[in-house]
């Protein structure tokens, strides 16, 4: 099944939305949760206090908003494209996460991890050259 130009364009556009808003949401969540501190025990009262503090954080809510935008783009693209296409194709986001983690959270990223991210991107490139849709609409 040869995909039309329009199908490819709208698929790429929504995946672009996913790649931007997904990592942004992850980084904002991480920053918000790190500010709350580590979950030390599994006691229900401790879990309650942990999640109460998490959901009182504006950064966490900004992350949730960003992830909601990601989710809308995600379900829309899945209305026509294969899951086994969208899922790997959107993994360009891993490079974005690493860059944001490095730039915003000052996380250390080793050469091996950068190499791993490059391999992930190569996999995405290969998947991206398959047809976005293999089932009948």
């Amino acid at each position: 099944m040869k995909p039309s130009l329009g199908l490819r364009f709208k698929t790429y556009l929504l995946i672009l939305f996913m790649v931007v808003f997904g990592p942004l949401g992850d980084v904002l969540l991480s920053k918000g949760v790190k500010n709350v501190g580590a979950l030390s025990t599994w006691a229900p009262s401790n879990l309650f206090l942990f999640f109460r503090a998490v959901f009182a954080s504006g950064t966490v809510w900004a992350g949730i908003g960003s992830l909601f935008t990601f989710f809308i783009a995600y379900i829309l693209v899945l209305s026509w494209a294969d899951y086994s296409y969208v899922q790997p194709a959107s993994s360009v986001a891993y490079g974005v996460v690493a860059l944001l983690g490095y730039a915003v959270l000052r996380e250390r990223i080793t050469a091996t991890r950068w190499f791993g991210i490059a391999i992930i991107c190569a996999g995405v490139f290969i998947v991206g050259h398959t047809s976005p849709r293999t089932t009948e609409p």
């Binding site: 899922q87 790997p88 050469a111 791993g116 089932t135």
Partner: protein
């Protein structure tokens, strides 16, 4: 280590199954061709009436809380790539649960993604 492993498992297994269910729900809605805000809202409301959507959202919510717990313990640039192991589950689910044609080329891409994930894990600083 047990906590981290459990969180990783929940993120990969519940997260991927949830996404597969959401995909099945969206496939019953049909291809979205009108992107005006009101049309999109109608699509979202229609999707929310499909049972698979709620099963999927429930599992994705479980994976989300596991992600929150894990992010309090590990760096985001490690956590997110490691969860990419779900690609192998995803390709299998796409083939057997959704009936997609996962070509050898697509499998090769998935394999590369999994290798990349392993490297990211090994390269933990």
């Amino acid at each position: 280590m047990f906590r981290e492993t459990l969180f990783y498992l929940l993120i990969v297994v519940a997260g991927t199954s949830g996404e597969l269910c959401v995909t099945r729900a969206m496939k019953t809605i049909g291809e979205v061709t009108d992107f005006r805000p009101m049309s999109l809202l109608r699509v979202i409301f229609r999707a929310m009436k499909v049972g698979w959507m709620w099963i999927g959202i429930g599992q994705m919510a479980l994976a989300f809380f596991a992600l929150l717990g894990l992010l309090s313990l590990e760096n985001v640039s490690l956590v997110i790539p490691v969860t990419a192991l779900s690609y192998a589950f995803g390709a299998l689910g796409g083939r057997f649960f959704l009936g997609e044609c996962v070509t050898p080329q697509r499998w090769a891409g998935v394999l590369l993604v999994c290798i990349g994930v392993t490297l990211v894990f090994i390269g933990k600083g």
